[in-house]
Symmetry: C2
Subunit: 162 residues, 2 copies
Amino acid sequence: MAADPPDLHPDVAPLAFLVGTWHGEGLGEYPSIEPFRYGEELTFDHVGDAYLTYAQRSWLLEDGSPLHLERGFLRPGAEGVLELTLAHPLGLTEVSEGALDGPSFALTSIPGGVGRTTTGMPVTSLARRYRVDGRTLVYELDMATETTPMTRHLAAVLRRQP
Amino acid sequence: MAADPPDLHPDVAPLAFLVGTWHGEGLGEYPSIEPFRYGEELTFDHVGDAYLTYAQRSWLLEDGSPLHLERGFLRPGAEGVLELTLAHPLGLTEVSEGALDGPSFALTSIPGGVGRTTTGMPVTSLARRYRVDGRTLVYELDMATETTPMTRHLAAVLRRQP
């Protein structure tokens, strides 16, 4: 069996402010859809290695039905760079990179960084901005598809869970 | 909050044999490394949508220290095709596809299907074969890198957990 949960790896110490579970609500919008409100939970965790695990789930506020999931890893790359590797159930993968700036970071998919299955959603690029202020995490996500240029898609305000 | 766990989506009914947690041991080998034995747990789960969630973790048998994690989604694509989207903490993403054949399936990364961060591992393609026989799951993984052609890397035998 795996060992007991170890200490945070020193390489991810600058990301310690993220570790935990964040819960709240967001607003989704896009040119092709009606705006919608959603519930969401983000979990950043670790296993003692030089990365954080990242898990996202969201649900419709009306009936709790699942809306989206994301699973992946956030890790330090070259000096000052954060690297995100992510899988989506929409038939997408994402490789995004950006800079850590105190308790904020912005990540943009690298060229060719959005992978798609044959029947995957026609997303071409993604950009994410996260900011933590005390027990609050605010994020925004922009998305471009084959037919829509980079446009705000999601914005949410989450609170750190006890 | 999210609703209680729902029924399996009819689109993933042919994958019901996978749902659960599988635990066992494997052998890793590659031209560039010493062979090693590892412990492993695979979990296939669902949220009522038309995909399964997939989570893998492995650890060194000697001391239980974490070896690798994979997180992603397995979903039906076009007729008879399975699509896998996966994130690895090595700075990799994976889009693989293949066919379901009874309780077996083989998945190969599609052209351009392995995404890499700037400091990601230089993997260029991956191929996976899974076979379930009763309470046993056997899988093999082949890997190619920028310097090594497609070569067996992992083979494991896992047992369904109660």
